[in-house]
Symmetry: C2
């Protein structure tokens, strides 16, 4: 089976964090559903309606939601109208953040798991952020759009392929945007590379590599709060590339995915599953119920994606091996190659066969390339970004999204991007379960991927 | 077609280097031949006969052959009896090298392309090296074994799967070893990592990555001598991972391939073919006949291998993109990860989430790991190796092979390794041509892969 759902019994076997998984009652599935019939016109290139103020709400005020709220409070023109969480103390904390920032206290929604539906029905919200456990993203995003709000959804936007289509359908039907909150697209390096690529400095692109290599064993997966309450369960029931968007989002932008190209095929391979059980056996007490868990997810998943124009992408996932963090973030073309961790570049014909390091504010590249191609967003926002999460990319992301809303621009990423960047999780499960067979990548744009956009 | 042979007409279209390809008249094929019926007992674990002197010959005295000859002249107990090349001047140069080293002049074989057969029939040779263009490796190795010599074959040992089986059959039938001259297995880093792995310092292995990323456009592929005479043609007729062994050999040793595990499946994807034509259009005169060549081989090939024990390997090939050299050389397990370029290691539980650089003679790792796990070959040979090619690995390789012959040990690598490390080229062509389908990896050992060896 591509995705073995977390069974009720398995969840009950463990001591912690069963609540969300149990009550949600959703199960993954990597069956590849046929494209749905469109229920509205395309959302490709559709601009936001221009507005002076953005009336904002956030669903999920845990670690991630709080961080996003902090960032949005630093952006001009945003009124925080409502906050929602199932934990009353987290709602109160979020409300206090808002009043401390000089705004009126937002309404709190804290009456159980379905109270978000009431928030979504308010009718006075321009933008709702969803920062909850993965399995809640789609029902909340769909409710937000149905209530008339544009939504920003944390990553992955969806878990299953059905969910990817649900987002597409809802966005087209409601004429609301569903924007994936892929902060890594707004990193200083990622935007620099995007500008280099668009200026043609790497030539014609052939290949990219990316991934999410982040040892989460101690910091997330076995914690007894936060993501520790639910994220480990994904490793029990699924074997694939569970968390693709941090790596794939920026690379999809380099490759003009849905703006001249699209992902067409994926093939995937997973290593044995050893890391979590080895860690657990070493770190937990002998009578800890988590010691009886069995993890399906291979430690290292490597997926290969092929685009319509034949370009290739290596996409990796490893959150359980002892390795330093990397999203890889590499792209190669006929005139040069960029690779990250550390950020470095090589241009064809350069004298020494050596990488040249790329550094923000310490331009070493010939012709002052760092300065010339630094993104205007960073030129403008470097200072406030400094106080924000993840090296500033979070602030740049939310600032830019609010700008698009206020200026009446189309969003940088639309629902088709949200679906295509999230889909490799389910597609890789399918490929792995089928013996590393190639699987066709759905065209979420329904044929509208080849046009260039401004 | 998986491997489009270089046609006579295509070869004639070009100005240079047609001789070897034309006269050889061999074509690649990625049809997966069934295992042949064994014509002799296994060569797994078979020791060389002990001998005081090693009577040696080399076929191919070009750049690579000359370098190998230089190294072997620096090893005690070797008598160079014969040298062979189709270019008389290269034979003379090789003979002069031998006399200059204080040995009698070896016999020269220079009467055309088939004179090597006479060399192989001499009957007084213990070891014959083959350092010729790829398509000649197998006929020469088979002739060497048929003549009673053990053979050392340059990489890749074979081009097609049929050729892989020809090597296996010949070795089993003649009871002679066929050793792949995979120098990268003897690099200081690679041997250190092998020793760390064998000592269990990386825990149970899950995943490895390797490749051959080497911009050969100017230095090899478009030269008008040496490899420029034939190597570019492989890119005209084939699309896959053309040169797998430099990356895969060391990784196969880390993973105990044929000593407890084996490669079982391969799936492969190639990027578009842009690099060679872009370079050619820029670098060659408008009337150069090479400008009419068409290259089938994708710039970047990424292949995924799965072992019987479920471990995964990423194997890449790119010799046409503007990028600095790397063989990647990465291996990960439950207790740590090593990665190369630059060489660095991370052990589980270490305080900082940062790689620690690994440096020969500058041990920085805790507990003096570099010194403790430096290979005994390097402890012994560091000095003579310094004057040898490729950072010393060539000298260590030939010294070690001669030691095995003189001491009556089994070789470090046998014909099954030669076949399995070379086979990904043909297998990847098959997978790419079939739309990135998984292909089964032949078991060249005929079932004898699971036993540990001393």
């Amino acid at each position: 089976m591509p995705t073995r759902p977390v069974s009720r019994r398995e969840v009950l076997k463990t001591a912690t964090g069963a609540a969300a998984a149990l009550s949600l009652g959703r199960t993954g599935s990597a069956q590849s559903p046929a494209p749905t019939a469109p229920q509205g016109a395309t959302m490709v290139g559709v601009p936001f309606e221009k507005r002076a103020k953005v009336r904002f709400a956030i669903i999920g005020c845990g670690g991630r939601g709080t961080s996003l709220l902090h960032d949005i409070l630093g952006v001009e023109g945003v009124e925080v109208k409502a906050v929602c969480d199932i934990v009353p103390g987290k709602v109160a904390r979020a409300q206090a953040m808002v009043t401390k920032a000089g705004q009126p206290a937002p309404d709190g929604y804290l009456k159980g798991e379905r109270h978000f539906e009431e928030l979504c029905r308010r009718g006075d919200l321009d933008l709702v952020f969803v920062a909850t456990p993965w399995r809640w993203h789609v029902p909340m995003a769909v409710a937000g759009m149905a209530g008339g709000s544009h939504v920003g959804v944390e990553v992955p936007a969806a878990v299953t392929l059905e969910e990817c289509w649900q987002l597409v359908d809802a966005s087209e039907r409601t004429r609301r945007h569903c924007v994936i909150l892929e902060n890594c697209c707004y990193g200083w390096n990622e935007l620099l590379v995007l500008n280099l690529v668009r200026a043609g400095l790497l030539g014609e692109l052939t290949h990219a590599e990316c991934g999410y290599i982040h040892d989460l064993r101690q910091v997330e997966l076995f914690k007894t709060d936060g993501e520790g309450l639910w994220r480990r369960f994904e490793h029990i029931g699924r074997n694939g590339n569970l968390y693709p968007t941090h790596g794939l989002g920026p690379v999809a932008r380099y490759l003009d995915i849905h703006r001249g190209d699209r992902f067409e095929r994926l093939v995937s391979m997973s290593s044995p599953s050893l890391g979590l059980s080895a860690y657990r056996d070493r770190a937990l007490a002998a009578d800890d119920p988590r010691r009886s868990e069995t993890y399906a997810c291979g430690d290292v998943n490597t997926s290969l994606l092929r685009t319509a124009r034949g370009r290739t992408v290596v996409l990796q996932h490893d959150v359980v091996s002892p390795r330093p963090y990397t999203r890889i973030n590499m792209v190669s073309g006929t005139k040069g190659t960029f690779a990250d961790y550390p950020p470095r570049i090589f241009f064809d014909g350069q004298k020494e066969e050596e990488w040249v390091e790329v550094r923000q504010k310490e331009g070493r590249l010939p012709g002052g390339i760092e300065e010339r191609y630094e993104d205007p967003l960073w030129k403008r926002l470097a200072k406030p970004a400094e106080e924000s999460g993840h090296g500033g990319m979070d602030y740049v992301m939310v600032w830019r999204l609010v700008e698009c809303l206020r200026e009446g621009l189309p969003p940088d990423m639309d629902v088709y991007d949200a679906a295509a960047w999230s889909a490799p999780a389910a597609l890789s499960e399918q490929s792995v379960a089928g013996g590393n067979v190639p699987v066709e990548f759905p065209d979420f744009t329904r044929g509208r991927w080849s046009g260039r956009r401004a």
